[in-house]
Each structure stands twice: as structure tokens, then as C-alpha cells.
Amino acid sequence: MSLSTLYAMTGVALFSLGFHALLVQRHLLRKVLALNVLGSATFLLLVGMARRGGDTPDPVPHAMVLTGIVVAVSATALALSLARRLKAAQGLVRLPEDMPE
């Protein structure tokens, strides 16, 4: 198993962990954590799999991951500020379980 494959597989494992947690965790902070793990997993996968071909690192996935990290932190900041407002306005730290359907 090559280095890249190892990390790509780590990515897959982390992705499933994060996905699972995103679905089952109720606390908003945990959902945000899950989302971040999910993001990191995808980034690992991206670089790991792209490296398979040659020896020299490919700049394209690197650029993609750098962008992705910035996006992830912005989304996290947005999510946390929403969570704070939700707590302040309605005292909620979880999403209402039963949705208004």
C-alpha cells in the first residue's frame, strides 16, 4: 500500500465517521465538528488520490484544498454565529427534532 493510498483510505474512513456523526448528533456544535471532519476527510482524499500518478506533487489539488480549508472555516464561523443567535433567541442548542412538515 502506497503512502497516497493509505491517506486516501484514511480519508474514506474519516468521511464515513463524519457523515455518520452529522446525521446522528443533535448538538449543533457536534454537527459543526462532524462537518469539519467531513471536510478534512475530503481534502485528504483529494490529495491522496491525485498523487497516485507521478512523483512530483500536483499543484492543482493543493490549490483546491487550500481553498477548501478557507471555505470550511468560513462555514464554521457562520454556523457558530447562527448557533449563538439561536441560543440567544430561543435557548436552543439543537435543531428542533420535529420539523414543521
Binding site: 503512502l3 497516497s4 493509505l6 491517506y7 483510505m9 484514511t10 474512513a13 474519516l14 465517521l17 463524519g18 455518520h20 456523526a21 446522528v24 448528533q25 443533535r26 448538538h27 449543533l28 456544535l29 457536534r30 459543526v32 465538528l33 462532524a34 469539519n36 471532519v37 478534512s40 481534502f43 485528504l44 490529495v47 491522496g48 498523487r51 506533487p57 493543493h62 484544498v65 487550500l66 480549508i69 478557507v70 470550511a72 472555516v73 464554521t76 464561523a77 457558530l80 448557533a83 449563538r84 441560543k87 442548542v93
Partner: protein
């Protein structure tokens, strides 16, 4: 190579713990650790640029945001927050 295997396993283990621990504060700290180890993985993957970004933004900035949010959302420190029975990963209480 062995180092990489250990690192990969640690990452998965950390992720597991941080997503399932019953204490929010602990989870956030674990997440920061996870980010720092991930930066190490980026170095191993010959991506020092990503490693720097990960350490600074992924672990540092996100970690700070999370710590701040935790303090505001759950001021009474660590209220156990166990996922509803049967729907989450098993609570890791047995290990600590």
C-alpha cells in the same frame, strides 16, 4: 511507512473520539489535536503549504472559534450530551 500507518490510525481514532465523547470541551480540544496531526499528514504527503494552512486555520482559527462558541453555548461547562439512545455511536464512558 510505519509512522504513516500509526498516524493514519491515530487520526481515525481521534476523529472517532472527538465525535463521540460526551464532553463538549474535550471534543473541541480533541478536534484541535486532530487538526495538528492532520497537518503532519499533509507534510508526509509533500504538501507543506496545506500543512501550514491546516495548522493555522484548520486547527488554530477553527479551534478558537469552537472554544469560544462552546463557552457561550454551554456556559455551565461540560454538560454531558449523549446522543439519543440507539441512534449514535456507543457512548465511550467505559474508557474514562
Amino acid at each position: 511507512m510505519i509512522f504513516d500507518h500509526v498516524l493514519a490510525l491515530t487520526l481515525v481514532g481521534l476523529a472517532w473520539r472527538l465525535l463521540s465523547t460526551s464532553h463538549l470541551f474535550k471534543a473541541v480540544v480533541l478536534f484541535i489535536t486532530f487538526g495538528l496531526l492532520l497537518a503532519l499528514a499533509w507534510v508526509r504527503l509533500e504538501a507543506p503549504d496545506i500543512a501550514l494552512a491546516e495548522a493555522a486555520i484548520g486547527a488554530g482559527l477553527t479551534g478558537a472559534l469552537l472554544l469560544d462558541a462552546r463557552a457561550r453555548l454551554e456556559p455551565r461547562d461540560d454538560v454531558p450530551d449523549i446522543a439519543p439512545a440507539g441512534s449514535g455511536p456507543p457512548a465511550p464512558d467505559a474508557s474514562h
